[in-house]
Symmetry: C2
Subunit: 501 residues, 2 copies
């Protein structure tokens, strides 16, 4: 992979002076086109060998284009707020919004490669990281991002020369740290691991461009040219898509339809009941237990992400209140999911959930969640079939990240029968105090009961995983449902604290 | 101040059971009204003596109302991201948006009071903190927030009893930390300092409510009732304001008009010039110096916040690019200020600038800034006179916070003459490549030249402070202007690193 970047590429001073102004003007113009189009973000990933001109190129991009619309992020040590969340969280929050260019100096590649070079991880772990990266970049591209990845390379001999020449000049000596030489000793290993990582992640949608870093003129012109062409191609596609709206995508195969009418929802035991007396007793018991669990010392390195989904009037809100009542308000946060804000719409779909992930020792409760994409957005046609079909994988990837980082994911589907919903709607209309809880939209959604049920079944089938199983709660009897959810939450958390994941 | 909260207030069980359901229903309804009105946030500040029921009350508020629309924040140790910004930053980012209730458990009062009790600060410092708090809360209220402050009190005897009874019960023993008893020893001092802080900050717009914490029934009902009344009063005012739009405010005295036509802008030396040759030489020199300064070890505990304001076509953008070109892209961020986003509009005016404050060792460049309020918003009438008049103080307070926390504020007014602007506008129209830089709005703004100039003069007069002076840069000659700004930035940063603030 690196052979072509070790052959001594060079561009003379004269040629550079001739080509640079044109390239620069074209890049600036393309940047403004991206800004004005405003429909996609540009994510530039910068990686490579120390001394190969990574920093110089990033500075040059900022010089050539308008730095006001470029967001450059470097990733050193994780801050404590970052360290308490999944490793990808710091990158999630650094993504540029639509219309902007984000330059990520160091990226999701750094830690997997360095850890493998230093033998902190085995090859299986590296492959797992690479797999996650591939999924993540695929998602970015599917969400509309233009992802451009540059790897700046130096041959072993060239890196040695480069470090020595930096050291010789008093003006640049500061740039060579002792760790640079230590790393140089591992050059071969670094090259091998990087090559594997690059090869496995040089996908059609987000290919790597490897650039020889020895000659600054060659390096700069090549990087600039690649960037320019990528911007042009993407702009052309964006304009075409606009003209041919709505964008056509290959329709994926529809989810499997079973041959009978039995499904995971309609076979729940909706007759499950609890007496007032039992309820009161168990409520106290499990609220007490939950309280103790969230104060357990072992919880300080864990977090809970609880998801509540369910039909309208299924009792999500009142169940959430029985759970929050058991905890200290300092330790939980309830996030009601409404329409995305402007800033959220300028980011990948999952961004508005990523931003609410709790720190360690905290509980975040989502009242409706990222499952909206495969429920309401699917049923109401707010997104294309291709979009909600890929969402299953994206969600699984996301939840896996959270679970791997010691997050306890507890997902509830709060289910009621169609008859019970009707009874509750009517009751809400009757009782003045509850009228604000029922809207025309609720009645409209009800008409699509069958479509929603199918969507729920598909969702459970595709996203109920070992680390984040769905808990289907028959809730015709509210008391039974509340206790069941409290109990489930306790036992999931208990199991997690006892070391079972 | 605390006497009325040491007289053994009590509410019987029966009375509580009778009043609680009504209060609870009314609070929930008021919360929904706040949400639906959506025009103001509710900021509830919780402070007081340990063991006086702060946590219980916060939990109760979350139980009584809908926790999905309450944001509860507790403030323990600052995270490293918080520690690298002004102390208020962590509160700024915890403020609830319009329509929501934010409960701040621990607040901007905690550190000033505790530091004074532990004698880490003197009384002058306490007074300074109190003054800042008063300004901050005043700003919140002016920005439309409803600020409600609760102080939960216990007499010395009551606190002792409370701690002992918590210790006796195995279920609550965990709640008494050794530090609680240590603090108890300082009860008298804590009482004295708190009383002073409370007295000085119990303002008309944000008064304290001191509540005796001994009896849970009394405490809960009182806090709930105070909250309810405050919500009702504010909702009534909001509805009235809506009916009587635009809200009438007392018009403050207009800024002073001088008796002649000389002002700080038109007396600048616009003939100042630099030859191409001198420019090239000095550009290299000062870019090099700036580069060294941002890599100076002493800069790691400082930050630079540079503000660029100026007439259209004055050359802000190109000057910024000469400055960024001198630095490593990993260390700076340019923030172009455009119209506020939806999330920004739901917060105090300054919020959208607060969120971009740099960490230590970083430079943030604002291309236009918070001065928009006293420039374009004033001249174009986008806000009321009262709003922009109070903005001067708010800005000074904000900048003082930044400067006190070792931020170096460098503010440039890039000035050109009216004739020079015309020349540049025409040139931009002529050159195809620059056409995107000139809009009808630019021509419209030009017609208001005199009004803008007056606004600039007032701005300089009112916001050029020792810690954040304005640098007025005559920029008819772009080369001269760029070098002057680079030089100024260097010397301000140098002075800061040498310990002069």
């Amino acid at each position: 992979m690196f052979e072509a970047a070790e052959i001594g590429h060079k561009v003379g001073k004269e040629e550079f002076s001739r080509r640079e102004p044109q390239l620069r003007a074209a890049l600036l113009k393309a940047q403004y086109d991206v800004l004005q189009t405003g429909t996609f973000p540009v994510v530039i990933v910068i990686g490579g060998v120390d001394g190969a001109g990574k920093g110089e190129t990033v500075n040059l991009f900022n010089e050539w284009m308008d730095p006001r619309h470029i967001v450059t992020r470097a990733f050193g040590e994780a801050s404590d707020e970052e360290a308490e969340r999944p490793p990808m969280w710091r990158f999630w929050r650094a993504l540029p919004p639509k219309g902007r260019i984000g330059i990520l100096f160091g990226s999701w590649y750094t830690v997997p490669i360095v850890d493998r070079v230093l033998r902190r991880t085995g090859s299986a772990q590296l492959m797992q990281s690479i797999e996650s990266i591939r999924h993540f970049e695929r998602m970015l591209v599917d969400e509309g991002a233009l992802v451009i990845k540059f790897w700046f390379h130096l041959s072993k001999e060239a890196q040695k020369k480069r470090l020595k020449s930096l050291e010789k000049d008093p003006k640049t000596r500061w740039r060579v740290a002792p760790t640079d030489w230590e790393r140089f000793k591992m050059y071969d290993r670094f090259r091998r691991v990087s090559e594997e990582a690059l090869r496995e992640t040089s996908t059609g949608e987000a290919p790597w461009t490897v650039i020889e870093g020895t000659d600054a003129n060659y390096r700069s012109l090549t990087a600039g040219q690649v960037l320019l062409e990528a911007l042009h191609a993407r702009l052309a596609a964006a304009h075409k898509a606009k003209a041919a709206k709505p964008a056509l995508r290959a329709a994926p195969a529809a989810a499997q339809r079973p041959a009978d009418t039995r499904n995971v929802i309609n076979t729940l035991d909706f007759s499950a009941k609890l007496s007032r007396q039992d309820y009161a007793r168990q409520l106290e018991k499990f609220q007490g237990r939950l309280n103790m669990l969230t104060r357990d010392a072992r919880f300080r390195s864990r977090s809970v992400i609880a998801v509540f989904e369910g039909q309208d009037a299924a009792g999500k809100g009142s169940s959430i209140r029985r759970i929050t009542a058991a905890m200290d308000a300092r330790h939980y946060q309830v996030i009601p999911i409404a329409a995305p804000s402007e800033e959220e719409r300028a980011q990948p779909y999952l961004w508005r959930f990523w931003r609410h992930l709790p720190r360690q020792g905290r509980v975040t409760i989502f009242d409706r969640s990222w499952y909206g994409r495969v429920l309401v957005e699917r049923v109401e046609g707010f997104c294309s079939e291709a979009d909600w079909m890929r969402a299953y994988h994206e969600i699984n990837d996301f939840e896996e990240q959270v679970a791997r980082h010691d997050g306890v994911l507890v997902k509830f589907w709060v289910a009621i029968t169609k008859e019970e919903q009707l009874r509750r709607f009517r009751e809400r209309q009757r009782i003045e105090f509850k009228q604000f809880k029922i809207t025309d939209e609720d009645w409209r959604n009800r008409k699509k009961w069958a479509a929603y049920e199918r969507a729920v079944c598909d969702m459970v089938e595709r996203t109920s995983t070992a680390h984040a199983p769905w808990h289907l709660i028959p809730a015709n009897d509210k008391l039974y449902a509340r206790i069941t959810m409290l109990k489930t939450l306790c036992s999931r958390l208990e199991a997690a604290l006892d070391g079972e994941r």
